[in-house]
């Protein structure tokens, strides 16, 4: 049994790190419109997460720590929720996400809900949790895992040995090339609502 073709394409078709300098208008969970991929800060970290993905949740403290550590160095963090609650209205989904933000102590990090998957498509993000780093020109300079805390699904590493996000941030902030611009994230696949049949 091979991997489903859909998944393979999602993984392989996204290898080119594309520029998206025209920005993408999104609305934050608190109602503020802003442009993703057109950051005002030197580097913007866009995290793809989901409320019901255990690996994504497990990374909450790590995401918060990275954002705290790099806040003073001009790194801006945004959370993009890739939840897909087909039974919920956008309002109830937003409420669930507000609860999640509070419970997982995300504090003041900007969050948005990617209802249509426009953000994930633009960033070629396929998995939660994953992260893209966008430079001031709007180019994606890193895409992939936060670190190697999970070797595979169900295989948490006892020791993180590769801090990919931090290494990429350090390189970008120092004006060096990102050591590994693309890594494979371990977690839950971001589902495309259009792929799910509403009718039989």
């Amino acid at each position: 049994m091979r991997m489903p073709a859909l998944v393979l394409c999602a993984a392989l078709c996204a290898t080119a790190l594309t520029a998206a300098s025209d920005g993408l208008q999104v609305r934050s969970i608190d109602g503020r419109a802003f442009a993703l991929f057109a950051p005002k800060s030197p580097v913007s970290a866009v995290f793809f997460i989901a409320t019901d993905c255990p690996i994504s949740n497990w990374y909450a403290p790590t995401i918060q720590q990275v954002c705290r550590d790099y806040a003073t160095r001009g790194v801006d963090c945004t959370l993009v929720y890739e939840d897909l609650d087909l039974g919920a209205t956008p309002v109830t989904l937003d409420a669930a996400i507000r609860t999640h933000l509070r419970e997982y102590r995300y504090g003041s990090i900007t969050a948005t809900v990617d209802h249509t998957r426009a953000v994930a498509r633009r960033a070629h993000a396929t998995v939660t949790p994953s992260v893209v780093l966008v430079d001031r020109a709007g180019a994606i300079r890193y895409r992939g895992r936060i670190d190697n805390g999970y070797a595979d699904l169900g295989k948490p590493r006892q020791h993180v040995t590769s801090h990919d996000l931090r290494a990429s941030l350090d390189a970008l902030l120092a004006g060096r090339p990102v050591p590994t611009p693309e890594t494979e994230a371990v977690g839950c696949y971001i589902a495309d609502p259009a792929a799910i049949q509403k009718k039989r």
Partner: protein, 763 residues
């Protein structure tokens, strides 16, 4: 022998609903992977039969898999995890007829799921959707228990960090011996409880460990083990893992729970990303008569491999231990189990029958410490006399093993810590012919004796004991001394302690404690009279340098919780919210040393600059370079501190008159010429007696002494007498580690976090 065994595998087993499984088999076995696959007709029966036991609201799994939408939005993920056989989680197989409750999909089912996802996940005819299996209402799955035990207090699990192993001691208060035929475990915080192991221990036998660090229970994964924490045995009562459905023991089987016993619950917690509090419930079901089956357990290798000479060099990709046992009589096998730590990869036990044929008893090819199931054979079977049981455990101590608990890898030897290894396959059996029982007992007893002898010869036992000693040697104990240096009392059990500070009433000690399991540093408060302790802070951030307010109701302390050091205040009774007093944005370490008696000023040092700040301000009012360890006199008119002296590395004690009436006067007073009080190199432990006329301090090598000197302050300046020796500083205390109140206000009792000399082995 059974008292040595870690797991009694019959008590709780993991089964799904047999009826549901049967239904699944009927419906899906015939579904060809090539035809159009729909959710309602083909996928729902597979999911309902194998996944929804856990993947439904209120259960341990992170999401439900009930509606089409539930399943379709995770279609790719489900295809991936089923294909990898990560889900449903099941790790053992056998050639002896299968296990009860195997959570395993057929190859055809897995192919069908993959085909459905590839085809775009068609929904299908809604009318063909099967009914969701009926599950027992929430509550006790085995019915109302005969005895319900509850953890006496909630245990806080942090949002992140390493896995935690914690043992909870729950008194049963049984007034007579009972026979247990079932145990049902109900975790409270299902997101973080990964697995649990149960045992009975003699009532009160673990009292010294329980709560010794001020939190419920005690740490470590070893106590329910080969050698108990108190040297006494424990009686296994089964276990629980995520996905478990409780089940009664087979008819005629029961385990004794002696009167007055304590129930020992060892829980493995895996942090979830947010803080959780666990308060487990345990339901126990009694049998009204003793068991009519006399089950024995055999461990291959013996005693989890204590005699197998486990010594795995760092980086070794494949390392095996093997042992055999030949049956002295016929045995009827009921269940199997396996136990090892993180490095184990495979566990294989086979039976070679007298006719030479070989069949696998238990085969785990992808051992996962996190999924420790019990394996109950669908049909108990008899192995004839002369059958040889071979068990092989294979370990991977390379860096490529993501589960390796040590990075970079280190040599691993037999032991009870998570970074040690052990390993055995266990079989629960009944001796078929009563006449053979002595032969079994003798054979197993001989194996144990031999294993211990081998362990003694090959160094395993020595290493095991030496490590236990080293661990003890590294710990400190809060020790209260009088003014002559005589020990008045030792407070609580040894732990990794620093920065002890005596409360103003002398009844409590605040101290930095390092959790032996997680390495987290928190502030603890211990009661001197009773030795009980509790955590004032409980988080991943490094918390240190506690200082009491003069009224003893608040503690100010340093924390790195915002990724830079800051000073925070908390009420000792925990009744009010924490308050942030100061944040230092340089990231340098801060050492807080005093809080003035009027409550208005703090003093701390960082990078050998001493600061004085007002609580009403968010930044220091004044600073003094080359100074540390400031202490305000009780009337607030003098400041004692340690100043850097010559040659480098030496310090002296100085005293300055202090005028805190304004920021300017404060800054000006720090510029005055200080009075040197000490004669020899001295740092740490500065303390003003209540009347402000005596200053205590520590003299460092070459003379590690506790000193006292008289100090008077007149309009003409500060005068001090000749320092006198109170007592020799006890070995094992570093002066600079004593930051704050080392003594009671009258200077008559001192507290130190005293390193303990290594102790002789106790067993």
């Amino acid at each position: 022998m059974r008292r040595y065994l870690l797991l009694s595998l019959l008590a709780v087993v993991l089964i799904g609903s047999a009826a549901v499984l049967a239904q699944t088999a009927r419906r899906s076995a015939t579904a060809p992977a090539s035809a159009t696959v729909t959710f309602t007709e083909t996928i729902a029966p597979i999911v309902y039969g194998n996944c929804v036991t856990c993947h439904r609201p209120g259960q341990a799994a992170p999401f439900s898999l009930i509606s089409y939408e539930d399943v379709a939005k995770r279609g790719a993920l489900i295809a991936r995890v089923t294909e990898a056989r990560y889900m449903p989680p099941w790790h053992g197989d056998t050639e002896f007829g299968g296990f009860i409750g195997e959570r395993r999909l057929t190859d055809a089912q897995i192919a069908t799921i993959g085909a459905w996802v590839t085809q775009g996940m068609p929904r299908g005819d809604e009318r063909r959707l099967p009914k969701l299996p009926e599950f027992a209402a929430d509550g006790w799955q085995l019915g109302e228990p005969d005895l319900v035990l509850e953890m006496p207090a909630g245990f806080d699990v942090r949002a992140s960090g390493p896995d935690v192993f914690r043992n909870f001691v729950i008194p049963t208060r049984l007034t007579e011996d009972k026979w247990v035929r079932g145990v049902e475990y109900r975790p409270g915080a299902r997101k973080v409880v990964h697995h649990a192991i149960f045992a009975a221990v003699a009532g009160g036998s673990l009292a010294a460990l329980d709560g010794a660090d001020g939190r419920p229970g005690f740490g470590g994964m070893g106590t329910v083990g080969v050698l108990n924490g108190n040297g006494q045995g424990s009686q296994g009562l089964g276990g629980w893992a995520v996905g478990a459905t409780p089940q009664m023991m087979p008819p005629g089987v029961a385990t004794r729970l002696p009167k007055g016993a304590d129930f020992l619950l060892q829980v493995h917690f895996h942090p979830s990303g947010k803080p959780e509090t666990e308060k487990s419930l345990i339901g126990i079901y009694f049998s009204d008569r003793p068991p009519d089956k006399d089950l024995m357990t055999i461990s291959v290798p013996t005693l989890f491999g204590v005699g197998a000479g486990i010594d795995i060099p760092a980086g070794t990709k494949e390392y095996s231990i093997k042992e055999s046992f030949t049956l002295p009589g016929d045995m009827k096998v009921y269940s199997a189990g396996a136990h090892a730590h993180y490095l184990a990869r495979q566990m294989i036990a086979t039976a070679t029958l007298p006719d030479g044929s070989t069949r696998s008893l238990l085969r785990i090819t992808d051992w996962d410490f996190n999924w420790q199931d019990g394996y109950v054979y669908k049909q108990p079977f008899t192995l004839p006399k002369g059958t040889r049981i071979d068990a092989t455990i294979t370990y991977d101590n390379s860096a490529e093993n993501p589960r390796n608990p040590v990075s970079p890898p280190r040599r691993a030897v037999f032991g009870e810590q998570s970074f040690d290894e052990m390993g055995a396959v266990l079989l629960d059996f009944e001796v078929v012919n009563k006449a053979d029982k002595p032969a079994f007992e003798q054979a197993i007893g001989l194996r144990v004796k031999e294993a211990i002898q081998v362990a003694g010869k090959n160094g395993t036992l020595g290493r095991f004991l030496a490590r236990a000693n080293r661990e003890r040697g590294g710990r400190q104990q809060l020790t209260v001394l009088d003014r002559s240096g005589a020990v008045i009392t030792r407070v609580a059990d040894p732990a990794f302690l620093q920065h002890a500070a005596m409360s103003p009433d002398g009844k409590q000690v605040a101290v930095l404690k390092v959790d032996s399991d997680t390495g987290y540093e928190d502030i603890w408060i211990y009661d001197v009279a009773t030795g009980t302790g509790r955590a004032l802070t409980n988080d991943e951030a490094r918390d240190m340098a506690p200082v009491w307010s003069a009224d003893g109701r608040s503690i100010a302390f340093v924390s790195a919780r915002e990724n830079t050091f800051g000073i925070y205040r908390r009420a000792v009774d925990g009744q009010s919210a924490e308050e942030r007093l100061y944040v230092q944005n340089t990231g340098a370490t801060i050492f807080l040393t005093d809080w003035s008696a009027d409550g208005k000023l703090l003093t701390f040092w960082s990078n050998d600059t001493m600061y004085v700040m007002a609580l009403t301000s968010d930044r220091p009012l004044a600073q003094l370079v080359n100074a540390r360890g400031g202490r305000f006199s009780p009337d607030g008119r003098l400041l004692a501190y340690n100043g850097l002296a010559q040659p480098p590395g030496r310090f002296h004690v100085y005293v300055l008159p202090l005028d805190a009436s304004s920021a300017a006067s404060l800054a000006a007073s720090l510029k005055a010429t200080p009075k040197q009080v000490s004669i020899d190199n001295a740092i740490g432990g500065l303390f003003w007696r209540r009347d402000g006329r005596e200053l205590l301090f520590m003299s460092q090598p070459p003379k590690p002494l506790v000193m006292a000197t008289d100090v008077t302050s007149t309009a003409a300046g500060v005068e001090s007498g000749t320092p006198r020796v109170l007592f020799a500083l006890p070995p094992g205390v570093g002066g600079p580690a004593q930051l704050s109140s080392v003594a009671t206000p009258d200077g008559d009792r001192f507290v130190f976090a005293l390193s303990l000399p290594p102790r002789a082995p106790t067993r």
